[in-house]
Symmetry: C2
């Protein structure tokens, strides 16, 4: 048994396919969001992937755990969170994956030469995945003024993150993003003129409740029309257990778009 | 039996709740789209409703057929289509509804004083429903140049139709719109700063296929966040029969948002 760092836990994901060192009892712990985001990458993917806002590295490691030909660059701005990603990569349980994972401390909202200088060169990745940290800002119960500010910040955030993704992926390169339904308008606005052929999977906690998340996948400069796919339902039954599809995604045994 | 006008048919909807005179064998015949749009209006609605692009009057009459306290103004730009709406209102089968329905030949894309002069006064309706006629333009297999043009026209169309809806409904008045998923971005952009608290129901022909339509409902100047509701599935089984929910909507026995 590996002793946990103080204030941290070490947890298995994908039935032991990869492990994460992550902060104990904070809002930044890896959960279903990271696993659903990772599941948006096709199982046959075999190129360079960037994980924007990687945190402890959950989504990025879930991709390399499921896709044997993939390499990932975990991009995290916060040195505090990057510590966890570094500890994750140092875990002996992840020895078989660590040669396919890099950690980059960088601000994904940078533009132009500053972004390239920070390690995110134009046209250098095949796929970008992102789970923008806007959720907390919207969740907070705030007066209208602050809430409006949070919304404005969120709109800018999508614009800046997706601008960077469009710069660093090659033509026809992929983008996957997990967000809340409330962010659909700024998200689609930020995609316009950059990524096309978008497919959206709404995610519902239960079949009869409104969606709690959307997972969107698109390709740089693709022309296809936006498609709204059948939803993913996470839980069912009186005991609120995982549906078969959610369990397969949780365990790294299925992709979200069936490819 | 009532003889049909030449080139027309007279058809029952809502199990005989209302009838329509409509052109034979054209793309403008009333179908599930109009009935789903009408079903977005709460069953207890009892105010003035405008049906933009009313055609033969299907969606508007479906509302007054289901909502005893509702009155409708069918707004149609094309005199050719307005003929059918007029014939519909003259049908003896619709005698019990015709006192609650008006027909207005007007262009809903007008603005300012021109719009008011055309019969669409500011702040004079409680609800607007619309099925913008953009589908045909996008459906056509056209070269990229023309297709792009059609998309641009579509974006303008949402902007102009929703601008007019925002002008003519009272504060907190309702809007319902049926559109294709491909139109989600321009539709949400046109709502921004006007209608809020939007709820979207994706409509799937079958549960395992991408959505073919979205039905959106929102309120003028409301602040609520966008919600993505559980989808409506139209058909099921080997014989592709209506699901119970689709049949109830088709028959005017259920509303789409459960209210």
């Amino acid at each position: 048994m590996i002793p946990a760092m103080p204030g941290h836990t070490i947890d298995a994901f994908h039935r032991g396919g990869f492990w994460l060192a992550q902060p104990k009892g904070s809002g930044h712990r890896v959960g279903m969001d990271a696993l659903m985001l990772a599941a948006a990458v096709p199982s046959g993917f075999d190129g360079r992937l960037a994980d924007f806002g990687a945190g402890a590295g959950g989504a990025g490691l879930a991709v390399v755990s499921r896709c044997p030909g993939a390499t990932v660059t975990l991009v995290e701005q916060s040195p505090e969170m990057a510590q966890f990603a570094a500890a994750t990569l140092a875990l002996p349980q992840n020895a078989s994956l660590k040669d396919r994972a890099l950690l980059l401390i960088a601000d994904v909202t940078l533009a132009g030469r500053q972004r390239a200088a920070a390690g995110l060169a134009d046209n250098s990745f095949d796929f970008v995945i992102m789970n923008p940290p806007f959720n907390a800002a919207i969740d907070r119960q705030t007066p209208d003024g602050l809430k409006n500010q949070a919304h404005v910040m969120t709109d800018d955030l999508f614009e800046h993150w997706i601008r960077s993704a469009a710069a660093i992926v090659r033509p026809r390169g992929g983008l996957a993003i997990i967000a809340r339904p409330v962010s659909l308008a700024p998200l689609l606005a930020a995609l316009t003129g950059r990524f096309g052929g978008a497919r959206i999977v709404p995610v519902h906690a239960r079949a009869d409740e409104p969606a709690i998340r959307i997972v969107l996948r698109a390709r740089l400069a693709a022309r296809g029309a936006l498609a709204l796919c059948p939803p993913l339902v996470l839980h069912e039954g009186a005991d609120n257990s995982f549906t078969a599809r959610a369990a397969a995604i949780n365990d790294g045994e299925a992709s979200l778009f069936g490819d």
